[in-house]
Amino acid sequence: MKKFLLLTIFLFINVMILAGCWNYKEIEKLTIVAGVAIDKGENNPFRVTVEIVQISGGKETKATSKLLTMEGKTIFDAVRNAISLTGKKLYWSHTKLVIISKDIAENGILRVIDWYNRDAETRSDVYLLISKEKTAREILEGKGVTDEIKSFEIADTLKNEKSLSKAPTTELWKFINDLESPGISNVVPTVNISTSENISTPQVMGLAIFKKATLIGFLNGRESKSVLFVKDELKGGLILDGVQVNNSQPVSLEIFKSKTKMEPIVKANHNIEFNVNINTTVSLEEIPTSMNLTDEIKLKKLTSRTEEVIKKRVGDCIKKVQSKYGVDIFGFGENLRENNPRIWNQIGNNWDDKFKELKVNVKVKVKIKGSGIFSQSIKMGD
């Protein structure tokens, strides 16, 4: 009897405590955010545009996207103002990217990304992008090609960037990590609108250079590839223009594997030089002229010319960054700090000044490993 009574009371208490969650969220009550664009507002410091996914049920479930714009004194203020528009709280777990406009980035983006990195509902492994257009909102206004939802399409672009290599990929947490560690400056991919036949599509190309958290300049797609070469983040992509056989059209070489080793050489008086050794394996993929591929001398010539081209481009890119921007986006300082902390502690304080005069020796080794499925180039009959 007593046991029975105890059990009843226990169940009764359980019903009260465990009957439901304190606050529950139904899937149809959520406004799922796919991407965020942050601009300067007209009346307020920030204008936040979110792309929200609307799922319509029925026979064929379809996901459509919609834009929602709100302003606020801070980012979080703007985000919460969304409730006044939709009546629902935004749901951040599926967000793929954050696009920041040029204006905001030029004034420092720390105040923009702090909320996103700090809040528990958002995730810090989103992609960070800088809009090259006037506003960041325009990017999301464009039309997707394969995916109705632009943010997801841009995220796919970034994911497949490894076989194009014309832009880096920067996740938010990595940005903050590099911001905190001395000896490396951040690069963030840029996105612009490409218009053809009156349809504007977002296009990811090139990168933006940051000094601390402030935007100071851009590099184009080809230079981005050089940056990726140095940072050893290159996984694929093509090398073409400039590599010429018989002074005609360029040959396309696809990068299969690339490995870059950076090594600091410490000389007397703390003078530092860097050796950058690039080892690349490529494959001939497109040959517009006739050429005997089994001819060893010609292949050697092609190889050495490719090496020259990469060396020149990478060298030029490093020089350009050194002279024009003066920030170490390649991570030479970080490399020195990790491998030679004693020297770094002595000279690391004004690394950016040191970086401007840093001597970098680029050495490139190219190995051509194949030529597609053809052993010969196409020969025209006479």
């Binding site: 969650c21 304190w22 777990s93 528990a120 700090r337």
Partner: protein
Amino acid sequence: MRKEQISDKEAMFVLIIYYIGSSFILGVGGEAKNDAWISVILGVVMAVPVILIYARLLSLFPEKDLFDILDWAFGKWIGKLFALVYIWYSFHLGALVIRNFGEFTNTIAIPETPMIVPMLCIGIICTVAVTSGIEVIGRISAAVLPILIIIVSTVSLMAIPKMYFHFLKPILGNGFLPIIKGGFSVFSFPFAESVLLMGVFSSLKTNKSPYRVYLLGTVIAGLLILMITFRNITVLGSTYSKFYFPAHIAVSMVSLGDFLQRIELAVAVDFVFGVFIKTSICLLVTCKGIAKLLRLNDYRSIVIQVALLMVYFSYTLYDSIMEMAGWAFKVYAYYAFPFQVIFPIILFVTVEIKVRRGKKKLQTGVGTDG
């Protein structure tokens, strides 16, 4: 009353879960930044002598717990004073662990639920476990620890693609001082906290087993914590020490393909089990101590009230998570030092002198009060 007994294996598992419970999720040795893994090794090495003292004390007095030993060594009044000190420490530690759990759920999972609710829930479970006794806690540990280890290792293996091994460099970049500081904090949290298990391991079978249990348990837990710290550093880099719950963030980065992602709740499962065992041990020791102090027949009669007090106490401990983190990293190591090192050494010296003076006393002197 039947004498409760646990096997060496179970005792070791209890000890391991006790170690890894909250340190898995809170992260250890944050002072040393990316050298925290060296701090872990240093912490284990520093802990070994102290742990040998605990084991020696236990093996001198088979079937007697911390409070019996205190009583025997210092006599009635000073012994009671020391007992009071350890009751306070275990009570406070239990409250701290409950608070960690409350802050974790409140920050990560359910920010709008009042914190007292998850804390009360864990309090109720612990009450049940403690009322069932150390045997049951031992058997739960034996059942749960393999699962925990499997979860943790799988998650860590899956994190390998996200690891950047250059985050480990520069090794010793900031010199030795931060590492020693980190090692000290690893020593006090979690390793030397095992002083409280002296209140429980009176249930061990032989007087050789304390050494085995303590040493093996510490080494295994040390390896596990080393693995976790290593993973957190290589995934998160130097920001590792800035998160309240680095393990959670590190695991949230894991994604295999497009389908296996957002697995951070697996870590939360570990944490809940760990907190459960650790709080249970603290509660058990507190209740045993109070029962000995007030000469009650059985500690079970006060478990519920003490558990409730513990939960309320932990609720009032801090105002915010910032305060908790500040306290845990700045104050705790020094605050716990007397309980973990100074008092045990005093006890150890007294006991050794008394034992050397006359072996006879050991048989007659102990056990009149138990």
